[in-house]
């Protein structure tokens, strides 16, 4: 096809025009002119996140997981739309993973928290806590039984200032005595001569019966070990205890025990406060006793925001509006609890627990702690509007590149590209003269085709992609070199220029095809294997191989045809 020179030139010109057009800057969706080449996250700066449903005990079955993934995808989409990122990529990869790619964001940590946050909101009444207080001794016993008294040594037993409630204090005094007794008993036990043994004589059997009183002392000891109570400080507020920051991991370990969870009074649950409370040199967190049934959850919200700052308390807050159904629920709930505290629980942490001053209805607001910034309040409003995630999620991969590093990479890549092209140009012209000039023209066409192809296919240019382009410039001339060398050989064999050129192209073809096809195979494997940047590299390689194949065979051939036609008949060719 297109055997005449004119037809060949037209085809090449059309392709060049098409690629050139594809490379022209386009009007972006925002109206500004954008480069036609889409830059990858590593070049324009941005963040790549991979998240999965957090299901450590594998309690979700496949269907539940698939459902959770689908809903999570929608929620994350909504949130990112609200957040306002240009051309975000939010897609499901494989069965269990969601990949979020956000280009050109300047605060990746903030974007991350918006994606990651479950944003499960509940309003719960703070309980008086008496019931829980009564259950404490039993809980302590359970902890001792579950963990074993010998493993509790790190915990200071009975600090005098601990549970300061009156009954506890009395009991504490009792147990302090009992503890002394127990210590005494332990001492006698270690000395190996209990009073029993002394009276009934020595011997292995008696030693066994001697275990009797030991067991009883151990029991009284158990009562005196108060692992959880020892960690709880009275806060002076209804249904709230304080726990020193350093004791939180220990307390969490106790509360995570199955048996302990069962022992917490029915209808109550414990939740940590989100803000640390400074008390002297130490820092504390509040442990709230809440009703487990919420008055209202995030699902009942119709709208949230805009966030604002309370001028009197300098405290940010997020106003919200409930649905009609939510309003009825809220009215019913709050009317019974005027004067009580209502905890605002977000992702299982208590944000604040204000007093219910009157019955609440359609409109109310979430008061954030004084330590929160207005931006945090705005982000909270955003995630509340977009809705909660059905399940907590976990980030399994995070990659981000700052915009300045990306810009550096582009600048350096362009420079290396220019230097590389000039170097190849010099080498080819020095080595092949006129034919070298043809190779350089072909190389120019190659570059336009490669870049235009990348732009036309909407491929993303990444840093390894730039490396791929530069590499393929070096390799693109390979086909020309193969052909030129062959033509030289044919000329040496005494063929006329025209036949030498024809045979040269034909004979070199098989090597070019084989070499290009094997490289194509590796490039396709790279594409399959790679994510993001590596994929970009593979794409440039594939387009580069196709473009170089075309330019070497077709464009150079055309140039040779022109050259042969213009040359004086019988004159030698310059190769």
């Amino acid at each position: 096809m297109f055997s005449t020179v004119r037809a060949r030139i037209i085809l090449i010109a059309v392709l060049l025009l098409f690629c050139g057009w594809a490379l022209l800057p386009k009007e972006g969706p925002t109206g500004e002119r954008e480069s036609a080449l889409k830059l990858g996250l590593d070049l324009q700066g941005g963040m790549h996140l991979a998240v999965e449903i957090d299901d450590p005990d594998g309690s979700l079955d496949a269907a539940a997981k698939a459902d959770a993934i689908a809903r999570t995808l929608t929620t994350i989409r909504n949130r990112i739309n609200e957040f306002g990122v240009r051309e975000p990529t939010i897609q499901r990869v494989g069965a269990e993973r969601i990949v979020v790619e956000l280009a050109g964001i300047d605060d990746p940590e903030r974007a991350k928290s918006i994606v990651e946050r479950t944003a499960f909101l509940e309003f719960k009444i703070v309980r008086a806590g008496e019931e829980f207080r009564r259950a404490l001794p039993r809980i302590d016993r359970i902890i001792v039984r579950e963990i074993g008294a010998e493993n509790l040594e790190a915990v200071p037993i009975l600090e005098p200032e601990t549970p300061a409630g009156l009954p506890e204090l009395l009991q504490g005094a009792d147990s302090a005595n009992a503890e002394q007794d127990a210590d005494a008993a332990a001492d006698t036990a270690t000395s190996g001569a209990g009073p029993d043994t002394a009276t009934s004589g020595a011997g292995p059997d008696t030693a066994a019966t001697g275990a009797g009183p030991d067991t009883t002392t151990a029991e009284t000891g158990e009562q005196e070990l108060r692992p959880l109570t020892a960690l709880l400080l009275e806060s002076g507020q209804v249904g709230q205890f304080l726990v020193s920051e350093q004791d939180i991991p220990t307390a969490e370990r106790y509360l995570a025990l199955e048996a302990v969870r069962d022992a917490i009074p029915r209808g109550s649950e414990l939740k940590w406060g989100v803000e640390p409370i400074a008390g002297g040199a130490d820092s504390y967190r509040t442990l709230y006793v809440l009703e487990d049934e919420p008055l209202l959850t995030g699902e009942d919200l119709a709208d949230a925001g805009p966030a604002a700052r309370d001028p009197t308390f300098n405290q940010p807050y997020v106003p919200f509006e409930t649905t009609r159904r939510g309003a009825r629920k809220f009215e019913r709930g709050t009317s019974r609890h005027v004067g009580d505290l209502m905890a605002i629980v977000l992702d299982n942490k208590v944000q604040s627990a204000p007093v219910i001053r009157q019955t609440l209805g359609r409109r109310a607001q979430i008061e954030m702690g004084t330590g929160s910034s207005l931006q945090e309040a705005q982000d909270l409003a955003l995630v509340l509007r977009a809705g909660a995630l059905p399940q907590p999620i976990r980030i399994v991969e995070e990659r981000s590149v700052g915009p300045s590093l990306g810009a550096d990479s582009v600048r350096q890549g362009k420079f290396a590209f220019a230097i590389g092209i000039i170097a190849v140009l010099v080498l080819m012209v020095a080595y092949y003269r006129v034919a070298g000039v043809m190779a350089v023209i072909a190389l120019g066409v190659f570059v336009v085709l490669l870049l235009g192809g990348l732009a036309g296919l909407g491929a993303t240019l990444t840093l390894p992609g730039i490396a791929g382009i530069i590499l393929s410039i070096g390799m693109a001339v390979d086909a020309n070199v193969l052909i030129f060398e062959r033509i030289r050989e044919e000329l040496e064999d005494g063929k006329t220029p025209r036949t030498a050129v024809d045979t040269g192209f034909e004979a070199a073809l098989s090597a070019i095809v084989d070499a290009n096809l094997t490289t194509l195979i590796t490039a396709i494997i790279l594409f399959q294997f790679g994510t993001g940047p590596v994929r970009g590299f593979a794409v440039t390689l594939v387009i580069g191989i196709l473009a170089s194949f075309f330019t070497a065979i077709y464009v150079t051939r055309t140039l040779f045809m022109i050259y042969l036609d213009r040359r004086a008949a019988g004159a030698p060719i310059n190769i």
Binding site: S400, V401, A511
Partner: protein
Amino acid sequence: MRLFKDAKYSFMAGRRRAYIASAVLIGIGIASIALHGGLEYGVDFTGGTLVQVEFNEQMNAADLRSVVEEAGFAGAAIQSFGGEREYLIRLQTFEEIAGQGEVERVLDALSAAFGEDGYTVQRVEAVGPKVGSELQRKAVLAILMSFVLTLIYLAFRFEWRFGVAAVVATIHDILITFGFISLVGIEITLGTVAAILTIVGYSLNDTIVVFDRIRENLRKKRKEPYETTLNRSINETLPRTVLTSGTTLVTLLALFLFGGSVIRPFAMVLILGVLIGTYSSIFVASPALLEIEEYGRRRAKAQRAHAAGA
């Protein structure tokens, strides 16, 4: 200009020396890998966290280390990255504690010590162990698949002998490249694996050009030993081999020198790969073809002798 015009080097005669050279190179590489206790994998494959930060002012590595260690990351590796202001902080771990990931905790510590505006985060790579092992599996699979597919292709286009010889040369290249990676202390990342696969492609490309000429010369059925045909083919393609390697190397050199620090290890691996790939298509792939041929001939002879004896 014309290089290697009518070159008549007898490459095959020197193949024993080439074997020794290759064995020494591979040996050094394996020794280096063994001495380093294996290859150094990046966070892509081991899972872990890498944070690249640029400080506004010059920063002492020891100061930075103490800040990071105080934040609870005793095993952190601090590495200067092209200057006194830019550092890589590398952690073996990737997990969330109290809803805060490694990255957040490191950055909190940096903000506390050097101020929120005292530094810029240039790059974060945090990979969970699950993703890491997935990527590892995929990388191994990709390299194996590229072997199998090219072997099939070559067996189809040429003969099985050519395929085997090409794969021998490719394995040779990969072994030397891994040795070099270990010697220079480049981490194995996704980029490194991409570079290795590219080397596989380049080396095959080079080998195939020589093999194509061997095939062509074999078809001409000259009355000459196999070895002579191989030598002739290599010599005939020598100008092309050198020139193409040359143009590829100058572009890679441009990339290495001017492409920036992120791409530099990638360019370095590719440069070595092109050198090794060129060497191996002459000194490994073609000799391998000769050995296979001679082995086949010896076996055929032995079989004939056996048949005659029986």
